[in-house]
Structure formats: C-alpha cells, structure tokens
Symmetry: C2
C-alpha cells in the first residue's frame, strides 16, 4: 500500500455513510498536485512491465491520476466522455455505466480515432469499488479490438467486490490504497491491525 | 507564443467550421502528457509572480492544463463541477455558463470548503474564446471573497473577443497560442505572416 496516500485518506478523507468516501479535499474536487505526482510515479512503477501504449480513463475524476501516470509512462491518455461533444467523429464506441456518486446511469464514449486494435490499454481510475465504471471501460477496449494489459485504481473499496469481477480479465489489477471496511466514521485499511 | 503548442495545433488541430477548433488529439479527449507538461511549465513561468494560492478551472477539459500548472507552481487545483456530487458540502458557490461545444448552458459549482477570502486565485482553462466559462469562474471567485490574480488559457481564439471582456478585471491574461482567424480549413495564428 502507498503510505502517503493512505495517510492522506486517513487525514482528509471523510466517510459519509452508505459506503461513500469523500476524497474531495485532494482528488475529486480539489487536487493536490504533489500527491498526484506521487500517485503517477507509483502507477508508473507498478505498470512499467505491461508495455501499455495508451491509458484509458473516464471523465471527470479519473483524469488527474491517469494524466499523472501518463506523464511517468510517457504514453497518451484518453478520457472517455460522458456526453458526445460536437467535435467527436462519427461512430464512437459507447457503453453504459452506473455512477455511484451521481446516482444515475452515464454513457461512456470514446472516439475510434484514439483507440485501435494495435493498442495495449492500461485502464486507470480514481476508485475500484463495484467495478461498474471499469467494466464499462473494459467493454470499450474490447469494442476497439485493443488489448487490455492492466487495471489501476487509486483507492479500492475491497468490500464492494469489484476485484472479483475483474479477475477473469487475467491482467494485473493494482490499487494504491485498499479500504477493507468502515467502522463508524473510521476508515479501516486492508491488513490494518485494529486495537480491540 | 509557445512554439511547440502552435506546431501541434497546426499539425493535429482540425477546424470544423463555425469557429470550432477540434483539439481532441492532444488535449480534449486524448491528452499528450509531454505537451501538457510543457504547458504547465509555461504557465508556471508566466504566473510565477502573481503568488497564487490555488488554481481554479472547470471540468472537464480544464483539468489537465490546470493540473500541469499546479504541479509546477506547487499549489492545489480546484475544478468546478457541472453536477453537484453527493459528496459535496451544503451551500456551494454556483454560476451558469454557456458551453460552446455542448450547445447548452451548464452550471459550475465549487464547494466553499476549497476557496475562501484568503485565497489568491489563478484561473486556468483550455480555451479563451467568448470568455463565458472564464467569466463564470470569475464570479465564483468573487462569491468566495477570494482575490483573482490571473487568467491563463492554453488556446485563445482572438476573434471571439473574450480578452476584451476580461480586461476590466485588471489581472494578467495569458494565452499560450493565439488564433487570429480561420482561413478555409487553415488556422492562422496572431502575428503570423501569410503568403499572398
């Protein structure tokens, strides 16, 4: 586990109940650029071996960690859009994903211009929880004919079971901080020894 | 003007007509991380003197240049959200901005947790065109009581007149590449000598 990230989650993360962790202070509304750089370096280390040619993420909150990782791995980032802008070429790839924090389904759209059968795609997102967003991104990768080579998330909510759903993909799955459960308003990390 | 950015716009930008420039290949759908790093360094140089304490941008396309600048200036980035997530605290600042590329009005929302009267705010966005988005961000800054200290845009469309609307703010306005006009499908930069 990435210690400075875990410390930051403990300090500035806020458990809001119903499984929702607020990390707006450093990742999802305000971004701490030095933490984000460190996150990029950690992803860079963990995924150096998979030889990705592009990183795929979803707007909005995936962009910062994906860009930080792309800066280290020196490969382009593509962010799936939730609305098709008028600049997008015809016939993009589209998939539906349920959004936890907005409480409704969203479409994820990637232009066929920026992902193709030659690509080795590394998916990076802010959270690995139910894996609904990540599985929608995986479908976009498959639709393009590209090869998925890894999945990285900044924070994993182990108790939501997303990792189990991703296992059959047979690629490395890396999260930088894994939350095992919430205890009252306390955040308990995986492997953490708690006093009784 | 920033030469590598201008060259990249000439090479990979696409004029779609009606004043719309597509830069999805390196900024607004796919992101080139090395170009984005250079953009961050350029903003860092140009705004070193304004002593900003935070960068404010708007999701989605402002996040990458704002983060790149924040990494250099070593200050946090806050991105205004278009939809209020369930993690946001009560009574955020809200403003309406018209979106050029989506063809409808959008709300821009910033939590009062991450911008306050003590702050010196640098606004960074992808485009300075009509300045509608930037002026909405300026209103958010004023609502928080913070001081606006500068406005930076990656690409300026000089012919849309946004700079004139920003002048009364009396802060440095910096764009890294200024487009004077489009000529057929050609992109003409400000100060560019064109053959007759």
């Amino acid at each position: 586990m990435m210690q400075i990230l875990r410390d930051r989650i403990s300090k500035d993360g806020k458990y809001l109940g119903k499984g929702i962790l607020k990390v707006d202070a450093f990742m999802n509304h305000q971004i701490d650029p030095s933490l984000m750089k460190a996150i990029g370096e950690e992803f860079g280390k963990r995924f150096a071996a998979v030889k990705a040619t592009r990183i795929l993420t979803a707007e909005t909150s995936g962009i910062a960690p994906a860009l930080a990782a792309g800066m280290v791995l020196e490969i382009p980032i593509v962010f799936a859009r939730k609305h098709q802008p008028i600049t997008m070429a015809a016939e993009p790839y589209k998939e539906i994903a349920a959004s936890h924090t907005h409480g409704k389904d969203v479409e994820l759209i990637v232009s066929s211009e920026y992902m193709s059968a030659d690509d080795r795609i590394l998916i990076i997102d802010d959270f690995l929880a139910s894996a609904r967003t990540i599985l929608a991104l995986v479908k976009l990768v498959k639709a393009s004919g590209a090869t998925l080579v890894g999945v990285g998330a900044v924070i994993e909510k182990g108790f939501e079971g997303g990792r189990t759903l991703l296992k059959p993909l047979n690629v490395p799955i890396e999260s930088l901080a894994e939350i095992e459960r919430f205890d009252g308003d306390k955040i308990i990390f995986a492997g953490q020894v708690t006093s009784i």
